[in-house]
Symmetry: C2
Subunit: 585 residues, 2 copies
């Protein structure tokens, strides 16, 4: 059991600074907790009184119980003292909502808070945060106003945000789109529990299938990257980066209170490990919706679009091409059959343009027949319901049938417009179908879903296909007449079974090496990969202790010069560890 379990599944809760004053944060927080949490809640307010019939204690010491989780929303100056009192109550975790610490130039106060907490073994979320939510426990330990914004229903997405207000906005936008939430955490100043720790904790959470992270600045760069890389093997991860521009990073520094902002390198490293870096607020939310609704797979070359709005089809194709996503090209036989299905006066192509007078029946005829002759990885259906011809209720039934008949049909709908269209989209989403609201959202969704990790395989299948993949590596060697695995194969094999090996990179040529430039932590080792060289060190096929990229290039050149007579597959570059690893299979 992790200590953080006391946060998401507390035995009981005390709210220090609860209030009955209308419009106060202390009241907002207390009401959210009382309405969501089924366990025991104690309220503390130094003036006493009651809230909704529940007594407010004047002092923490008056509470006739130990306290598992404490929520602190009192002025910054009195937080350390409050922590002290909680220490007597054996509190495991305290969430500090109050601002007025490091971000306001009071680093000293923040240090005092943390020192006190450490003395009593209390873990701290915050300070200067909006709190957290667990939709499954359930517990809403935020002061977010539910009258002013939506909070998602129970679901499988977890959100961690470095910005509290932006975090609330994510919840509002997800809720508006009908997307469910597992956990939400505003980490605030993160002076104790930080992004990495929270991520690591959520990586073990089976209900968190998708992770959305808003990150502005990181003090824990390398560790964070490693954790995200690891998680992205098991879960879909979307990152929205604040402060990726020069000026934006300055703004982020004054916002979160110091620490350098991660640069482009950070993005590139993550991108390479199967994480989707959203390029806008909207693509962040849209890609979360996509991950929640569809499996990850390389859809990029195999999209079929069916539309009742030719112009929107055209704009969509433009937007897809911007992101290097291409449409399925129908072959001759498919074209021939499509011509028979599609009304003679309509042009046949991809997008398939059903034209503005298409009722549901035309969608149904064309799509059902299409799926008989080909199974595109992804079907995009553009339905502008504003047209007279569109019988929307029938259409919703049709989509439902399509979904139920074959759950493997991957589809995304594109629906744009005002109130009527929004309501229509809401109903479609109610079926569990992802809906993009404009062509750019759609292309972000497809891009996110198609993200694959370093070796070009879709991440989601990595664990499921362990055995299969292990066999493939061995079969490949056997087929090539080898009874020996190349080193990178061996390590991949170990990796498949989660046996850790140092970070490594197989490069077949100079171009590959260039790609590795910023991905490795030096010093590194470079090793030749050749079926004709088994004992590398004997022939000069290993070069150790390479300290930088220039040395790497030089070593590579020298190695090629020396070993040119052998058949060379490439080189293996890997980060150095204490002892070099050599495995024979």
């Amino acid at each position: 059991m992790s200590i953080l379990d006391h946060m998401f599944n507390p035995v009981n809760i005390a709210i220090i600074g609860a209030s009955n004053r209308e419009g106060s944060l202390g009241r907002g927080l207390a009401e959210n907790v009382l309405e969501s949490f089924r366990g025991r809640v104690y309220l503390v307010n130094k003036r006493g009184g009651e809230l909704h019939g529940l007594k407010m204690y004047r002092e923490i010491s008056e509470i006739p119980d130990q306290i598992d989780l404490a929520l602190i929303i009192v002025p910054a100056e009195s937080v350390p003292e409050t922590i002290e009192q909680l220490g007597e109550k054996k509190t495991k975790i305290a969430v500090v909502y109050s601002g007025g610490f490091r971000e306001a130039g009071r680093k000293d106060l923040e240090e005092r808070l943390i020192d006190t907490a450490k003395r009593y073994g209390i873990r701290i979320l915050g300070p200067n945060c909006v709190g957290f939510i667990d939709s499954w426990t359930p517990i809403n330990a935020t002061f977010i106003s539910r009258e002013r914004q939506g909070i998602p229903e129970k679901g499988f997405i977890s959100i961690i945000s470095q910005s509290g207000a932006l975090g609330s906005l994510f919840l509002d936008l997800l809720s508006y789109r009908g997307i469910g939430l597992r956990r939400f955490v505003s980490i605030g100043n993160a002076s104790d529990i930080d992004l990495s720790e929270m991520l690591e904790y959520l990586s073990h959470d089976p209900y968190t299938r998708v992770l959305g992270i808003y990150v502005e600045s990181i003090g824990e760069g390398r560790r964070l990257v490693d954790i995200i890389r690891m998680i992205s093997k098991y879960k879909s991860v979307v990152i929205l980066r604040g402060g990726r521009s020069v000026r934006g990073s300055r703004a982020a520094q004054s916002h979160v209170g110091a620490l350098a902002s991660p640069g482009k390198l950070f993005d590139d490293v993550l991108r390479f490990s199967g994480v989707y870096i959203a390029d806008s607020l909207r693509s962040f939310i849209a890609s979360l919706e996509a991950y929640e609704r569809l499996d990850r797979s390389d859809y990029k070359k195999d999209v079929v679009i069916v539309t009742n709005t030719g112009g929107l089809g055209v704009l969509t194709v433009d937007s897809l091409e911007d992101k290097m996503i291409s449409l399925k090209e129908f072959d001759e036989i498919e074209m021939k059959i499509l011509r028979e299905i599609i009304p003679s006066y309509m042009a046949v192509g991809n997008p398939i343009d059903l034209s503005g007078d298409a009722p549901t029946k035309r969608f149904k005829d064309v799509i059902e027949n299409l799926l008989k002759i080909t199974r595109p990885r992804l079907l995009v259906i553009i339905n502008q319901p504003q047209t007279y011809a569109m019988d929307t209720e029938n259409f919703i039934s049709f989509i439902n049938e399509l979904r139920n008949k074959d759950p493997n049909t991957n589809m995304i709908l594109l629906i744009s417009g005002g109130e009527f269209a929004i309501e229509f989209a809401r109903k479609i989403r109610g079926l569990g179908i992802a809906v993009a609201e404009d062509p750019e959202e759609l292309s972000s969704m497809i891009q996110a879903l198609s993200i694959t990790p370093i070796h070009g395989e879709p991440m989601i299948s990595r664990l499921e296909n362990r055995r299969e993949k292990g066999i493939k590596i061995i079969e490949k060697a056997l087929k090539e007449g080898r009874h020996i695995l190349y080193e990178h194969e061996t390590k991949e094999l170990l990796n498949i079974y989660d046996i850790d090996t140092p970070k490594r990179f197989f490069a077949k040529d100079l171009e590959d090496i260039e790609k590795s430039k910023d991905l490795l932590r030096y010093p590194v080792v470079i090793k030749i990969v050749s079926p004709e060289i088994i004992h590398k060190s004997d022939v000069g096929g290993i070069s150790l202790n390479i300290r930088n990229y220039e040395e790497l290039l030089e070593s590579y050149r020298r190695m090629l010069d020396k070993l040119g007579k052998y058949r060379i597959e490439g080189v293996l570059i890997e980060e150095m560890i204490e002892e070099s690893l050599d495995v024979f299979v």
Copy 2:
């Protein structure tokens, strides 16, 4: 009076193919016209009957009147015959809604339609279109379903769309944002009245202040570019291009029915003439809103952001920087004063982060004081109204005051989120303030507003400042001790007073010449610009009949070689006309 006046301000209207069948396009169209148009409307349906108490004539010939404007919504095959009958009724313009012509492989039928219309001098809008709207006449001559989508109120934006269904979507989205409409035209196959003619007509319309154009393919490339260039001097123009990608252009071809799609060149030429090329559906709509609400000006270096959501401020700065928009840098004095205004625990910078607990009062204090010490060209206010502290009604009053106190304060609000935020945004928009819904919309808006034409001046002011500018050119010469204007100055002077001169381009160096590469129609002339050379041709400072870009570079090189001893300002490159123009002032 233009013939097209009969379309937007008809004496009377006949609807051929009107229907009382529920859900039919003929009924939709008739109801829209009857509910909007105050003049006389005749309905024609070959089966007779009545609609809302209005008789439906069986034959056009039965109508006891001449017919000014005819709306035709009968099967394609019977359209030519219908036109014939309208000829007898002295009809000026017919709108043909029916599809089944060129776009369906029936070029022959379309030609027959046009031939017949020409014989009777009837102008045709369409075929295969959604119709048109004039919100001022008023007349809604579309079959757009008002139950399923919004149609904007009276306003100053005109929309021309090559795609009917997409055109309807634009109306829905504009209406949803509370933006007003002057005219809407779906040009369909444009086999008679084409994009250029409609644009030229709207260029003379004083109520059309902003023009939004959706264009997929143009057969009239050069003419269209010239007209758009001309209009962009007087009005704000936004173009959304469908088919700018390779695959998208293929889709566009099958959608609109043939004709090549304009390439990147088309965009670049237009961009250079002060037109905003929207890069997405959303930026199209957002920039229309911006143009409708704010004056054009170069805001790009002088934006101040005030926000109650630090994270959203950071994302906004990132998005602005993507589009090369930078924030105002406060100078030392401004910083000093700002520090006095802004609560001590808040960091001072741009964005000014008021933090999530800011009520209206804090916005008011900071903004009012800010405007006392500096007047940024553009003030961006980010207000996430979801926070407990935000007293939204007070905020709306404050924005209204701010607006009324000084109408020259240019501001855009950024408001994101679900229902509560949408409702809040609606109220702000009701004050006539532009609202962006996400950081990317905001940066598109600023980018659009900052677009300036070839000589770096904001377009909107071109006419108003005629005299002032003429004086400036002359003063500049006098100040430099010249009594002679350079040729490009002379022509600019003529241009300011709308005296047409051939397209020309002043290049101070090779880099400038490279920019001109695709902008000029060859042959061109190149002329040296130097205060020491008046009679250019005497010294070899003019080179005529340059047929392509390579020859242009060669001539430029030779000219520099030969005239290196003079002080050279640059060269003037211009398209050749019949007779070379030489003006002495």
